[in-house]
Symmetry: C2
Subunit: 233 residues, 2 copies
DNA sequence: CGGGGAGTTGAAACGCCTCAAATGAGGTGG
DNA sequence: CCACCTCATTTGAGGCGTTTCAACTCCCCG
């Protein structure tokens, strides 16, 4: 990316900042989005809730992730985004964003790359919920998060932060909190992970990948579109 | 959409046609896509297969649907698309498509709308697999297909074609074929559907929606971006 | 007339859920 | 500094939804 591209991005992201407390909605289903939200620090999630209260987490957002580029084309949010930890969010005015995309094709392409990877990740989650066992599903989630965190420099050695409660893991994997707990014990027992005090350690990533049937191709990490995150620009 | 827009579209879609037999791959995981595929007639599906053979259907494509606008940005397919019935596919050269999108903002917007609705649908499937029971899940799928078919004029009264085997329904809903069979019987028993000889009848759509906890908002059918399908242009 | 795929049925097993209660780890006010 | 709250995690026991395996029927097609 050219220096000029970066400058354009920086100008965009420094415009408006917003802070959210943990568990607070960044944007809620039914709202008409005015801006595009860029996570600058903290973890967030996309979720949907059924009328009777059942909640499904659909995606995790890490620093540098954009929630719903261009959803405003759909007029109205069909899901919600919530903070999992305290959050700093950059609000990108959509007009300014569109202008930047027009003037800087490389940025535009990187943003589309992000949107498409989001979609690919959603597909992989569908596969997990449809075809993977609880054990494989949790392994797969840990693999995915570890790969994504590593790509933005948020891992050290074989470990990373994991600021999620078991209830949140349950909502993401479609399991009950109780069964998440037991599955975590199985994973620990198998020596595949250590998880304590919000820190995840993966002693043997290869083994965990095999257990999860994890193929990182859907993250498309090997592509030029990568690296548009807040921490690199 | 202006007459000029339509003309541009027609020129695009009439360029190259391709026929696929049922069960044939339109494009396979790992391939580098050269064109964007537009379904002109027949049903197709997007699917992923795990190393050990388990297969998950991720989406159904109906006439007028575009498979993976812009996935070429990701270089390589991370999933496959297969014909469920004999298929006629329009192959849109990606350069021509990009040019059209640049020159016809309204078409561009409609195409983005399609991409975003795809993503929203994938999210809803994730919710189904994560949180809905077999009974609700099948109901939901039938609601979705019926709404989509109605939007493209492929329903009459309260019925539509449903050229899917129970095994395919199983792969889509994350259930076993046996359980799909039993669930269909339950649905029939509850008077929610009739399904015979590839024809689905929904005597009381309202009731089916309630059983499915179906909220059509994620299809965003009430929007101007709609109606770019092959049958209307 | 034979073969194969789609649909159907039964019985047993298993994975995961629900309910309920106990333990542990902060955080606050007295 | 302790009592007490709340929230996250853990454990046990029983039940249900769904899977698996196997067999059988039906129908279309060769």
């Amino acid at each position: 990316m050219s220096a000029e591209d970066r400058l354009a991005l920086d100008q965009l992201t420094t415009l408006r900042l917003r802070r959210c407390g943990a568990r607070e909605d960044v944007i809620s289903e039914g709202e008409v989005p005015r801006d595009v939200n860029l996570i600058l620090s903290g973890w967030a999630c996309r979720y949907k809730q059924l009328e009777d209260g059942r909640r499904q987490i659909l995606a995790f957002f890490l620093p540098g992730d954009i929630c719903d580029l261009n959803v405003y084309i759909l007029r109205e949010m069909d899901h919600s985004v919530a903070a999992l930890t305290p959050l700093v969010v950059g609000e990108l005015p959509r007009d300014a964003l569109e202008e930047v995309m027009q003037r800087h094709p490389r940025i535009a392409k990187a943003l589309w790359w992000e949107t498409l990877v989001n979609a690919a990740t959603q597909r992989e989650w569908t596969v997990s919920l449809g075809k993977r066992s609880a054990f494989e599903r949790m392994s797969h989630l840990f693999c995915e998060l570890f790969f994504r965190l590593r790509a933005i420099g948020f891992t050290s050695e074989s470990q990373c932060e994991l600021p999620l409660t078991q209830a949140e893991l349950a909502d993401a994997t479609g399991l009950s909190a109780v069964h998440v707990n037991r599955t975590l014990q199985e994973l620990r027992g198998a020596g595949l992970i250590q998880l304590k005090d919000r820190v995840l350690r993966i002693p043997d990533l290869r083994a965990l990948k095999e257990a999860a049937l994890f193929n990182p191709n859907y993250l498309h990490l090997d592509h030029e579109g990568r690296g548009l995150d807040a921490n690199r620009s």
